[in-house]
């Protein structure tokens, strides 16, 4: 990439939307990390934790599908 191209690109960066999207992604990741740590401690402390852990798996899966994979764009349009 040439310096001119880089300068042209820098000028057209949508900083406001980029910041919003970044915040959304980091928030989702923090939420998944917290759920994972709670999930781990439940598994270590509780015997037969299958049903206790199921909501954590579903919640984490949905956050990834919705925030990171934009599954709703299939029937709406968030792109």
């Amino acid at each position: 990439m040439t310096a001119d191209q880089q300068t042209a690109d820098q000028q057209t960066i949508d900083h406001e939307n980029l910041k919003k999207a970044t915040r959304k992604g980091i928030l989702a990741a923090v939420l998944i990390a917290i759920l994972s740590v709670i999930e781990y401690f439940i598994a270590v402390e509780v015997a037969n934790p299958l049903w206790l852990l199921m909501p954590f798996v579903i919640a984490k899966g949905w956050i990834i599908l919705d925030t990171f994979m934009h599954v709703r764009a299939l029937w709406g349009d968030d792109h």
Binding site: M1, H15, A29, A33, S36, Y40, L53, G61, F68, A73
Partner: protein
């Protein structure tokens, strides 16, 4: 009017909304392509889900919720966090190119690849421990090695795809209007993360 609605004598003429004439040549309107690509990728992801589902159900069928005492649950938690960090980094790479921030796109893609490699390193350590504690000949071991192996293979293919996207990005491909290549690969990477979110508790926690 669509081609199917057209009377027989008009079938030889391309539909006006799909074809434009320029410099004496016909050009197809490809505006539908991103949506078609997206649906195609989702169908592929659904087929992959069935593949992982088969091996996950094999684990339940062969051993129920029984698991060996020697399982390294702490290492698996660390691997989960590493893959999660790589996932958010991939998301930031996609978002950066979507809003035209090329430098961040390159940085986050490189970071995603590094995290993927760290994950593979952790899996290698885990496999070295597991091969003695619960060998593949045991019911749990066979499910464990199939699932871990299948997932690691997907991580490797994801890393290859991410590297290709990185190289193309460095050559100046992609921008805020055309970034399907990045979106597709990043979506696949998130699927790899999603699969791990289910594999991790199935093998280590339940």
């Amino acid at each position: 009017m669509t081609t199917l609605d057209a009377p027989p004598e008009e079938l030889d003429t391309p539909p006006e909304e799909a074809v434009t004439e320029s410099h004496g040549e016909y050009h197809m309107d490809m505006s539908f392509q991103p949506k078609a690509n997206r649906i195609g990728l989702w169908l592929f992801i659904v087929s992959e889900t069935f593949l992982f589902g088969a091996f996950l159900s094999a684990r339940w069928f062969s051993t129920g919720t029984l698991k060996p005492e020697e399982l390294n649950q702490a290492l698996a938690l660390v691997l989960t966090i590493v893959l999660l960090v790589s996932s958010v980094s991939a998301y930031l790479a996609e978002t950066s190119i979507k809003y035209n921030h090329r430098r961040n796109f390159v940085l986050f893609t490189v970071f995603t690849i590094v995290m993927g490699l760290v994950f593979l390193g952790g899996v290698t350590i885990e496999i070295k421990e597991a091969i003695h504690a619960y060998p593949p000949e045991t019911p749990y071991g066979s499910s464990y090695f199939m699932l871990i192996g299948l997932h690691a293979f997907h991580v490797v293919t994801g890393l290859v795809a991410l590297t290709m996207v990185l190289v193309l990005g460095l050559k100046g491909h992609y921008g805020s209007k055309e970034y399907w290549g990045v979106e597709g690969v990043v979506k696949y990477w998130h699927f790899v993360d999603l699969a791990w979110v289910i594999i991790y508790p199935t093998l280590y926690l339940f």
